[in-house]
């Protein structure tokens, strides 16, 4: 049995859910389904949709929203919060190090070839100084829970993590649907996230910038799966939402085309992958980027957030070393541990994993979004054999982890309320300081027994409540 966020193992409910349960018992049985339908209708009207690649028919879909909140007590949150801050500080230090002196490689803590031969390592970044030594301005740290006091970091997302708009819209929706619940709980607010983000971006102007930096959000365009979020964040921060074609490089600076002529741009919060940023430097076929952007960046004429080349730190092969990074750079013990991980290039690990494929989770080292992964206990024989062949062919491309019994949270399904597995993605902002809003995006696997919470794989989301004080 997985740990349940609401039900206490010895019967009854856990204290953070006590007020919620009383409320649940007091409402009419059709309240939740009714509110659920209302939420769907509202989300559709607001146009909070999510584009699914390779899905012709449903190119704009809603991410299913669950009306039952995921509740964290103040002390549970404070642990997750400090663990995430610690982790992001270490990851930023790591990126600064490998793109400069490479102390951690010299010390033999991480094998040199693992970093330098990694496809996400960007030689263009070597010896380049970035503002305040911040590489990862926005990080999404995926945290899972398996017991009352057992939290693990499952994955770091350090490139262009998405989902924060759902965190904000889910809260707005819950307040609209259930105002009475917010009167019964002291839920810590999250809606200052755009302010924090803008503040962080303003504290990292490029070297060549005088006066207030001009910040923009760079989107691949409105066919991108996360376009809604790009537009949402630009709107909330009150900055321009630009596409590559709106920007150009001239005189060593980046400019945007406006109705009143060119305007200088200083900080680009880009939601475009490294490969597409500059057709002159990376993929020549990219029409989404800005020709010459890299040269301006290297000359200190513009800040990119996140920096180029952060993928080398969130790769699943690098993930294994994050606890060591925390010890190496910060001299601290990790507050949030990693999930134990087998490296499949290591013969002993591989033999063990191949023997136990039916019990383990196998992930592609460079994969994301829940694609290219095997969940042993729910996989078919054929799927297991397919992965066995893949692992034998290219062991270094895979890692394996035990199948964690992710905690469950009561969720509204067709048959009523039932437990479903959840994770949590808090968003960590780095500028002058490292900060996050209390909460994050709780993703929920809507299929019974499923452990895959990714929205591209049929996952849904919940509002995440961090309570002000521990209930007594």
């Amino acid at each position: 049995m997985a740990f349940d966020e609401m039900k206490a193992p010895q019967g009854g409910v856990r204290s953070s859910y006590r007020a919620y349960e009383n409320w649940l018992l007091s409402i009419a049985p059709d309240t939740l389904p009714r509110k659920h339908a209302q939420a769907d209708e509202l989300f559709r009207r607001i146009g909070i949709t999510f584009n699914v690649y390779g899905d012709q028919e449903g190119t704009e879909r809603l991410i299913p929203f669950d009306p039952i909140p995921r509740v964290l007590s103040a002390s549970e949150w404070s642990r997750v919060e400090s663990g995430c801050i610690q982790r992001v500080r270490a990851l930023n230090a790591f990126l600064g190090d490998i793109y400069h002196g490479q102390e951690i490689l010299r010390a033999g803590i991480i094998p040199r070839e693992r970093i330098l031969a990694n496809g996400f390592y960007r030689p263009e970044m070597q010896d380049l100084d970035v503002a305040r030594d911040v590489y990862v301005h926005v990080a999404g740290i995926d945290v899972v829970r398996v017991g009352a006091d057992e939290f693990y970091v499952l994955e770091d997302n350090l490139r262009t993590p998405s989902g924060v708009s759902y965190m904000l819209e889910n809260r707005a929706m819950m307040m609209r649907l259930f105002p009475d619940l917010f009167a019964l709980h002291r839920v810590r607010p999250v809606d200052h996230y755009p302010d924090l983000l803008l503040k962080a971006l303003r504290t990292v102007p490029p070297a060549e910038c005088d006066g207030e930096p001009t910040v923009v959000v760079l989107t691949p365009g409105y066919y991108n799966s996360a376009y809604f979020e790009h537009a949402f964040l630009a709107e909330q921060m009150g900055v321009e939402l630009v596409e590559g074609r709106d920007l150009f490089v001239d005189d060593g600076k980046v400019w945007m085309r406006t109705t009143r002529g060119p305007k200088r741009v200083d900080v680009i919060y880009r939601r475009l992958d490294d490969d597409f940023l500059d057709p002159l430097a990376f993929r020549p076929d990219s029409s989404l980027g800005v020709p010459g952007l890299l040269s301006v960046y290297r000359a200190g004429g513009v800040t990119l957030a996140n920096a180029i080349g952060t993928g080398v730190a969130d790769d699943k092969a690098t993930y294994i070393h994050v606890p060591d990074m925390i010890r190496f750079y910060l001299g601290e013990e990790p507050i949030l541990p990693n999930v134990p991980t087998w490296k499949l290039e290591n013969p002993d690990d591989r033999a063990h994993v191949l023997e136990h494929l039916g019990e383990l989770v196998v992930k592609e080292v460079h994969g994301s979004g829940g694609y290219g992964m095997l969940v042993g206990p729910t996989a078919t024989k054929a799927q297991i054999e397919e992965f066995r062949a893949k692992i034998v062919a290219a062991p270094a491309s895979y890692i394996a982890q035990p199948t964690l019994a992710l905690s469950t949270c009561p969720t509204l399904v067709d048959q009523g309320i039932a437990p479903r597995h959840v994770d949590l993605r808090p968003f960590v902002l780095s500028g002058e300081q490292v900060a996050l809003v209390p909460g994050g995006l709780t993703r929920v696997a809507l299929k019974e027994g499923s452990l895959v919470v990714n929205s591209s794989q049929g996952g849904g989301t919940k509002d995440t409540w961090v309570l002000e004080d521990d209930a007594c």
């Binding site: 559709r44 009207r45 607001i46 146009g47 409105y222 790009h230 537009a231 949402f232 630009a234 709107e235 321009e240 939402l241 630009v242 596409e243 074609r245 709106d246 150009f248 945007m256 085309r257 406006t258 109705t259 009143r260 002529g261 060119p262």
Partner: protein
């Protein structure tokens, strides 16, 4: 503001206005056909006004009410069908949703979500008039949300300009349907003509205004006066140019497009009907449509193309 953003705002409102005006054109055709007008005389103008005659002819051939309605309302291949316009308005709005008020976006998005479910069968069941009324309602809502919620900044001016450039064009085209031979002295009209001009007035909600303002009977010259020169008639060419000139003045007083709009506006503001219709209403209409297009092209060159 980004040039691309301005472009999206401008086209968002142009397409919404166009959808509304197609509803108005269909309304004229429908009224005339119910009053016993000849089929071709009633329905062909919907195609000519919208510039869709060649496209229609290649797909459908003979002009029939069902064919014209299907083409002007539903046909996705017709870029100026009502559905195509509503889709384009929504796509443009989608691209600038971070700039426009959420109420405005939600109204456009909801309009499109409803509109895209319409089929020939549903249109028959609902009736053409009810559907056209619905489109007009949605367009009113769009304009109301624009006017009631947008900051009076550049975004607002570009949005408004799109509305009035499009409306001026559409009103001119509407006037052009039976314009041949009409001058400032055309005070009489035969019964069929009477029906036509009454339908034109009703389609732009100007029938009552006409009756109040012009004591003598319905005349082509009177309708032309009302829809070209009266600045208190919100769909007249003069009223549209009033708005365009103000918006352009606010955006860029020294731009070429502002000068052009000022010139066009002055002619409508100070001109007399007799001289404007000197070459006939059809000549006046064609000349206006050309100059309005030139103005639109200059607006593009001055603001929307960027550097």
């Amino acid at each position: 503001m980004l040039s691309r953003t301005a472009d999206h705002l401008y086209w968002m409102s142009r397409y919404m206005e166009r959808a509304e005006n197609i509803a108005r054109f269909l309304d004229v055709a429908n009224r005339l056909s119910l009053s016993g007008g000849a089929r071709d005389a009633c329905w062909r103008p919907v195609l000519t006004i919208g510039g869709g005659e060649p496209g229609y002819a290649s797909g459908q051939g003979e002009v029939t009410p069902v064919g014209v309605i299907a083409y002007a309302v539903l046909d996705g291949a017709n870029g100026s069908s009502m559905l195509s316009c509503l889709r384009a308005a929504r796509e443009n709005a989608h691209a600038v949703r971070s700039v426009i008020p959420s109420e405005l976006w939600e109204s456009i998005n909801a309009t499109w979500l409803d509109a895209k479910t319409i089929t020939g069968a549903r249109l028959r069941e609902q009736g053409l008039v009810a559907f056209c009324d619905w489109v007009k309602d949605r367009s009113h809502l769009f304009r109301g949300a624009t006017y009631g919620t947008m900051m009076r900044d550049e975004a607002f001016h570009f949005t408004r300009m799109g509305t009035f450039i499009e409306r001026a064009d559409n009103t001119a085209r509407l006037l052009g349907v039976r314009a041949q031979g009409v001058t400032a002295d055309t005070r009489d009209a035969d019964p069929a003509e009477q029906l036509h001009w009454a339908a034109v007035l009703r389609s732009v909600s100007a029938y009552k205004a006409y009756r109040t303002l012009y004591r003598d009977g319905l005349s082509p010259a009177g309708v032309a006066d009302l829809l070209i020169l009266r600045d208190d008639m919100p769909r007249s060419l003069h009223a549209c140019l009033d708005k365009i000139a103000v918006d352009l003045q606010a955006l860029c007083a020294s731009c070429e497009c502002t000068r052009m709009a000022g010139g066009l506006h002055a002619e409508l503001h100070f001109g007399r009907l007799a001289s404007i219709l000197g070459g006939g209403l059809d000549g006046a209409v064609n000349s206006f449509i050309d100059r309005n297009n030139q103005l639109a092209a200059q607006i593009h060159a001055d603001f929307l193309m960027g550097v």
